[in-house]
């Protein structure tokens, strides 16, 4: 019920949780946003202390009182240390590489201890997906977690709410905090495997000079250009000569392919079209052909290489998204 209330009133939720998502840059877990409550084990410990206290009163055991009170003091100290284990932890999101829908996005979080003591057994859990990890942060050091969040839909995937929790040192208390950092991952549409379209129109004239566009016959070496894929760099030759050289393949030498939204069957939905185009972009890039992408409202002239591929995929990922 409370959860629903908070969902409906984001401002109230922000006030209660102590921050307004998403937060830019490094998030420091100040006390205000570290919550702490006893665990079930903590209640059991309290019950044990009660029994010890009653026993001490009944048998008038001075050392029994001493033991009970020492354990109680230790419990309080444990509570403070549990809160301290999270307090002032600095959480910085790292870069998340783009993925295809259906894969898992890898959200990197750097946890900087910023303290002279170690912070063991900190659970980092992605609330949306349940992806979770436990890590120890050494004294004066930092730790890194990679949250594997399934990417279901194309577009920007925001990291969302992440919970950090610890029960160290005694397990009697549970301290936790929420972080909603400004980190997002670009999700490309899920690629559909389908044969590349025939080169058509004026492009076909040049393109079909090479009989099989998908053929990857090695044709020779040429000078490296910054847009070349590292996969095509002739590393063996580089090692021998010291010059950056790129392998050229037969299919590459002039085939020109247009991947056009309009040429797809009208029966396909938007997402299916995007999937097919994505699959084509990948195949075309692999084949080494020069390919262009035509979307309603956007056009990428034929080219190839990682930068071109990334630009095409990004356009497909964000097509008609706000």
């Amino acid at each position: 019920m409370i959860a629903r209330l908070l969902d409906r009133n984001p401002r109230l939720a922000n006030w209660i949780w102590g921050f307004t998502p998403p937060e830019r840059g490094t998030v420091v877990l100040v006390h205000r946003r570290v919550y702490i409550l006893p665990t079930r084990l903590g209640w059991l410990f309290a019950a044990t202390l009660t029994i010890l206290l009653i026993g001490s009163i009944n048998y008038a055991l001075a050392l029994g009182f001493g033991l009970t009170f020492l354990l109680a003091g230790m419990g309080i100290a444990g509570m403070v240390q549990t809160a301290r284990n999270l307090a002032r932890l600095a959480v910085t999101p790292g870069r998340a590489e783009p993925v295809f829908a259906g894969d898992t996005a890898q959200f990197r979080l750097y946890l900087d201890g910023r303290a002279g003591f170690d912070r063991p057994a900190i659970l980092v859990r992605h609330l949306g997906s349940g992806a979770q990890l436990v890590l120890d942060i050494p004294a004066g050091g930092a730790g890194e977690v990679v949250l594997q969040v399934p990417a279901r839909h194309r577009g920007w995937l925001a990291i969302g709410r992440v919970m950090l929790e610890t029960r160290f040192p005694l397990g009697l208390f549970r301290a936790w905090s929420y972080v909603e950092a400004e980190a997002r991952c670009l999700v490309y549409p899920q690629p559909e495997r389908s044969p590349l379209p025939r080169a058509s129109g004026e492009a076909a004239r040049g393109a079909m000079r090479s009989p099989t566009p998908g053929n990857e016959d090695f044709a020779g070496l040429r000078g490296y250009q910054p847009s070349d894929s590292p996969r095509h760099v002739a590393w063996k030759a580089v090692a021998r000569t010291g010059d950056m050289l790129t392998k050229q393949f037969a299919g590459e030498s002039g085939a020109e392919l247009w991947l056009d939204w309009q040429l797809l069957p009208a029966s396909l939905s938007i997402e299916m079209r995007l999937s097919r185009l994505t699959g084509w972009v990948l195949s075309a890039e692999r084949s080494g052909a020069l390919y262009g992408l035509r979307l309603p409202g956007a056009e990428f002239p034929p080219s190839h290489g990682d930068a071109h591929r990334t630009a095409c995929l990004q356009a497909l990922a964000l097509f008609r998204l706000p």
Partner: protein, 655 residues
Amino acid sequence: MSALPHPLAPELRSVSARDLVWLIGSLALVIVPHALRAPWWVTLLTLCLYGWRVYFTLQRAPLPSRWMVLAVAAAALLALWIEYRTLFGRQPGILLLVIFSGLKLLETRTHRDAAVAAFLAYFLVITNFLYTQSIPTALLMSVALLATTATLVGFAAPQRESSANLRTAGVLLAQGVPAALILFLLFPRVQGPLWGLPQDAYAGMTGLSETMSPGTITSLAQHDAIAFRAEFEGEPPLNALRYWRGPVLWDFDGRTWSMGPEMRGKPSLPEGPASYRYAVVLEAHNRNWLFALETAASVPERARMTFDGQLVSAAPVRNRIRYELVSVVAPAPQRTEAYGALTRAMRVPKGFNPRATALAEQWRAGAANDADIVMRALEFLRAGRYTYTLEPPPLGVHSVDEFLFDTHAGFCEHFASAFTFLMRSAGVPSRVVTGYQGGDLNPYDRIVTVRQWDAHAWSEVFLSGRGWVRVDPTAAAFPRRVESGVTLAVPQSAAMPLMMQPNMEWLRSMRNRWEAVAHKWNVWVLGYSPERQRDLMEWVGIRDADWRQLTAALFSILGVMTFGLLVWSLRRFARPDPVQRAWRAFCGKLARRGVERAPHEGPRDYTARAARAVPDARRTILRVGELYIGLRYGAHASAPRVARLQRLVRALRVT
């Protein structure tokens, strides 16, 4: 929360071999003192259960079934019942817990079970205090406490090194000490017990009893347990004057002296010069009487004085208690006594000890008054070449006759019994008083320690005009007994406890030092009672503190302390170094001028961009960037460079 497996939930984390080793080690430390008291098979069974659990872990075998565990539990219950014929006493109950700790391990799979076992270890610590709360026990249990806590920390941080976990446990306990101290002092104390205790709760306490027959005090004198300690204001009295009065025995059945029914009568507190003020810390002896230097001139709280001058507590002394007293050495004589009391003090059983009876009647015939008879009897004992021994020969039906005329060897109860019998046969009202005589004066803290081996018995006779007068027949025969204590009076023999032997002087000296420490421990730690709490509150300035005030004070102090602990623990957060601080200030200033540093932007890119955006401060910005990169990533850290960086950042204008 959710149905997801939670990596920190104890019920989902299985116990590792390391966890198990720590847990078993802690439990073993806790049960060591129990093992010394328990029947051997209990210890063996428990250790076997521990070992069995380790075997399962090493073999990676599944744990035994529930039925197996239940079968072992049933067998243990049966064996305990055969041993004790009950399961509800203190000893069988505790041993059951000890065995249960092993059974619990057999079904310990996850950290939750293991944590319950650790809590059981905490509980077993307190059961040790039911037997003894001495300093060595406290030290051993502190170690056990540390180990158990380290075990718990190990459950919470399985990846961490054991030594680090042990250190954390030590820090936690150390941080708990101030709160524990406050709780110990201020927690409202209630006088226990809250409910009935098991029958054997106070078993095994030694001390004087309501009766005295030949051999009772002799056997008591072979114990070196402490009966009580007395702390005098000023100098304690001489050894010969230290008669600690206990039970007064009126009735004699031919062999055994007993207290008999109490008679009505209002005792008047004696008055007289040469009084002593002192405090007695009496060990628990499970009887009602309190011991006082003769003759007590005050009555402690919750106690009364009987018609024959005994101090009697309202409840049996089941815990060490402390009371303050005033005694006078030479009280003004109490001249009258009730007729009933005097006739009771002359009653002797018919048909016993004919020879002694004849001797007494012979004295009666030839004596001018009662005092003369007393003198004759003492002279008889002095001249009789009696032996004072801890190993008196056994006596038959006519115990007084046999002692006086045949064996000639006895301990103080023989002398007191024979003398009182002679007096009664001669018509002089008399009674036996038991108690302690002497006690060791510890030269280190001036405290008189009275042990069970100081147990003594003497007589009192009623002389007209002088009232009840103490006569110590043992002292008449052996003056050394009261002048220098029992250790020098009896011949050395194997029956003497080691410490009692006079040539063990160096050992006694060490013991004296230890006793002084132990006494402080008893008084200040173990003896902290509701009365002492009230005294402390009065000393602080709160009169008649009730539990509400105590609780309020307690919680406010605890709150402040917890807050202080929080502040103190946060103090250890690393403050950024001066270079980093200067850099942050620099970024803040530039941000106010509209050039905010992007999270991914390094110092070189950022300063280059800022220099383009803020041309009027271009040189300063570039210089700051250079300095910062050099200080942060280069090897050129030096104080002047840090100072220059700080100066440049300060000089940068915001607008």
